[in-house]
């Protein structure tokens, strides 16, 4: 992009740069024009060569399927025969006749509001804690980080055991303490809190990001605040928070994007808690219990691969795409560092 603005006074020759092509790369470079042009052509070829794997990937695995998804959303198609155009019927079906779609959106909103904010707050708390720990810091850091590494399916199966209402250790412990014992993954009003607990367990990634940013806050600012008589809470409010607010923003936005993709934990938790036999495909309807864990990605899977209604699945996929890109544009606007370059 910078090429287009890189021309300096005196370097532009009349008619030398046709509309749409780059101006001279280096105005000071000696040599006649054809040499420059050859150099430019060589540079373009080189750039193209380096980018080629991704250019193919971008076309085949991004543009083509997106266009194709948009096309399928206006057709009736079950994988056999040819797709036949049916106008807005799929859109009408998804928006007006598929109550689980709205339930899935409501669940996603719940997860965005509760799960993302609790996870960010908890990650910040754990990050703060680890910067204050003097003894055994290495041990604590590893302990706090470890659950983040547990593969999602394994972590979810483990939590389905730990939180199972019958013999699970957590409810047993709660019972011994005389506290209420919720049904967790088996109770529609507790399944999302249970998933939130699972997400907070794997907070290690946020802990590391917050830890690094907290250590980057200039020490002088704390010292100055202390001289001014600021207590610990005031120091947090007026020194720490302003310094790390971009990181909090980053954590929130990426958290929202991850929540849009929320799939594995929800579907596995539902399957394990429902006790419905495994991977035969059609037997398990996601959302267990009572649709409380439906999310849009699961709906794409359900409509497309369990009900073979590709048209409706593509409508949900497009809604998912629109929301994800809207959130992504927020990330790009708020964090200029994301797009920073070295020239």
């Amino acid at each position: 992009m910078s090429l287009a603005f890189g021309t300096r006074k005196g370097s532009t020759r009349k008619g030398s740069a046709p509309e749409g092509s780059a101006g001279p790369t280096d105005p000071a470079a000696p040599g006649p024009q054809h040499l420059l042009r050859r150099k430019r052509r060589r540079e373009a070829a080189r750039t193209l060569a380096f980018l080629s794997p991704w250019l193919i990937g971008f076309g085949v695995f991004f543009v083509y399927p997106l266009v194709s998804t948009a096309y399928f959303s206006f057709t009736s198609y079950n994988g056999f025969g040819a797709p036949s155009f049916n106008g807005l019927k799929n859109w009408d079906y998804v928006f007006n006749q598929l109550p689980t779609f709205w339930q899935g959106l409501r669940n996603t909103l719940w997860l965005v509001v509760v799960m993302v904010s609790l996870r960010v707050a908890f990650g910040l708390g754990i990050g703060l804690l680890i910067t204050k720990v003097k003894t055994g810091a290495g041990f604590f850091r590893t302990a706090f980080y470890l659950p983040y590494l547990a593969p999602p399916v394994a972590a979810t199966v483990a939590f389905a055991f730990l939180l199972n209402p019958g013999t699970g250790p957590l409810n047993h412990l709660l019972g011994e303490l005389g506290l209420p014992q919720p049904g967790w993954f088996s109770d529609p009003s507790w399944s999302k809190p249970a998933l939130t607990l699972l997400a907070m367990w794997g907070v290690g990634d946020l802990m590391v990001i917050f830890m690094a940013s907290l250590l980057d806050v200039p020490k002088e600012q704390y010292e100055a605040a202390e001289l001014d008589g600021a207590g610990p809470f005031q120091r947090f409010r007026y020194v720490t928070l302003p310094n790390i607010s971009p990181i909090i923003m980053f954590a929130v936005v990426t958290g929202v994007i991850q929540t849009m993709q929320y799939y594995t934990q929800a579907i596995v938790a539902g399957k394990v808690a429902s006790g419905i036999a495994g991977n035969s495909g059609q037997s398990f309807e996601p959302g267990y219990p009572s649709g409380s864990t439906w999310t849009l990605p699961q709906m794409v899977y359900n409509l497309g691969f369990q009900r073979f209604n590709y048209g409706a699945a593509c409508v949900v996929a497009l809604v998912l795409f629109a929301i994800s890109m809207a959130v992504t544009s927020l990330l790009l606007r708020r964090r200029s560092g994301f797009m920073a370059s070295d020239d």
Partner: protein, 300 residues
């Protein structure tokens, strides 16, 4: 336990030296230490107890695993052998290693030149290309899965295998490209210019000059990609579910649970066997991993 002993020592340590002001300051620092470390111990319990309970249950016998006991009456290490001998378990291991190993290799090889071009070449539409990479990175895989499935299953006849997941990694992975680019930005231009003056071509510059400097970032990208493949559930569910011989550990674990739904002990043993490799890998490559996490967020 350590907390109690330090508390007991507290008066002994503060007695003696310093005036009353110094003593209150020292007492406050000590209280602070105790509070911070008590919190840290509580947090460590929250993070580690799940592993402990899973492990303890995994060595119980069948009857005890159905009770609310915490501590095993007998230590049945044979449970792990039983899981290992389950038909298919070894195949899932092999498939997962193939998917994660080959996928990681292809990702690194195909993403590095792209990241280099995005970081160091000046060309028209570079910001646009970068935005496209970010858009691809943020795209939920479910958005494109219907046409992709039809493409791989109908046109290529590759359903029931992991190839539809591995082959795309030869064409650059958006997240890896982005992460590598962020790191390559930090390499000073002068190194690359010096190599060019010495007569290095672009590819040689990349391989001889940039690659050795980018080793930490490449290690982080490789680890992330390995973990991604190891953990992937949706991909194998779509492409491999029809063929037991192509299942991965993450996908197979769930069916293991379904087939052994009354055997929490065996399920927990299998769960630990799926977790173990990534955790071991982490201990070997801790530094690269943490650097990678910070690179994605902080060093923008």
């Amino acid at each position: 336990m350590t907390l109690d002993t330090t508390l007991g020592q507290a008066p002994a340590r503060t007695r003696g030296a310093g005036g009353p002001a110094a003593r209150t300051a020292r007492r406050r620092a000590l209280l602070n230490w105790v509070a911070v470390h008590a919190l840290a111990v509580a947090a460590a319990l929250f993070f580690l107890l799940p592993f402990v309970f899973v492990f303890l249950t995994s060595v119980m016998n069948d009857q005890q695993a159905l009770t609310t006991d915490y501590w095993p009456t007998s230590w049945n290490w044979g449970n792990y052998a039983k899981v290992w001998d389950t038909p298919g378990f070894l195949t899932w291991w092999r498939n997962t290693l193939l998917y994660a190993g080959l996928g990681t290799l292809l990702t690194v090889v195909s993403s590095l030149p792209v990241a280099y071009a995005l970081a160091k070449f000046r060309f028209r539409g570079r910001n646009l290309a970068l935005m496209a990479v970010i858009a691809m990175m943020m795209l939920p895989p479910q958005v494109t899965v219907i046409p992709m499935y039809l493409f791989w299953a109908k046109q290529m006849g590759l359903s029931g295998s992991l190839w539809p997941l591995i082959i795309p990694m030869a064409f650059g992975d958006a997240f890896s490209i982005f992460l590598l680019r962020q790191f390559l930005l930090t390499i000073p231009k002068e190194y690359i210019e010096a190599a060019r003056i010495d007569g290095c071509g672009d590819l040689r510059t990349l391989l001889r000059v940039v690659l050795p400097m980018a080793k930490p970032a490449i290690a982080a990208v490789a680890l992330f990609q390995f973990f991604y493949c190891w953990n992937d559930y949706f991909g194998p569910q779509i492409y491999a579910s029809s063929n037991h011989g192509a299942w991965t550990l993450s996908y197979g674990l769930e069916s293991f649970k379904a087939a052994h739904h009354t055997n929490w002990n065996l399920t927990m043993a299998a769960t630990l066997l799926v977790m173990a490799p990534v955790i071991v890998l982490f201990f070997f490559a801790q530094k690269a991993f943490i650097e990678g996490v910070t690179l994605t967020g902080v060093k923008g």
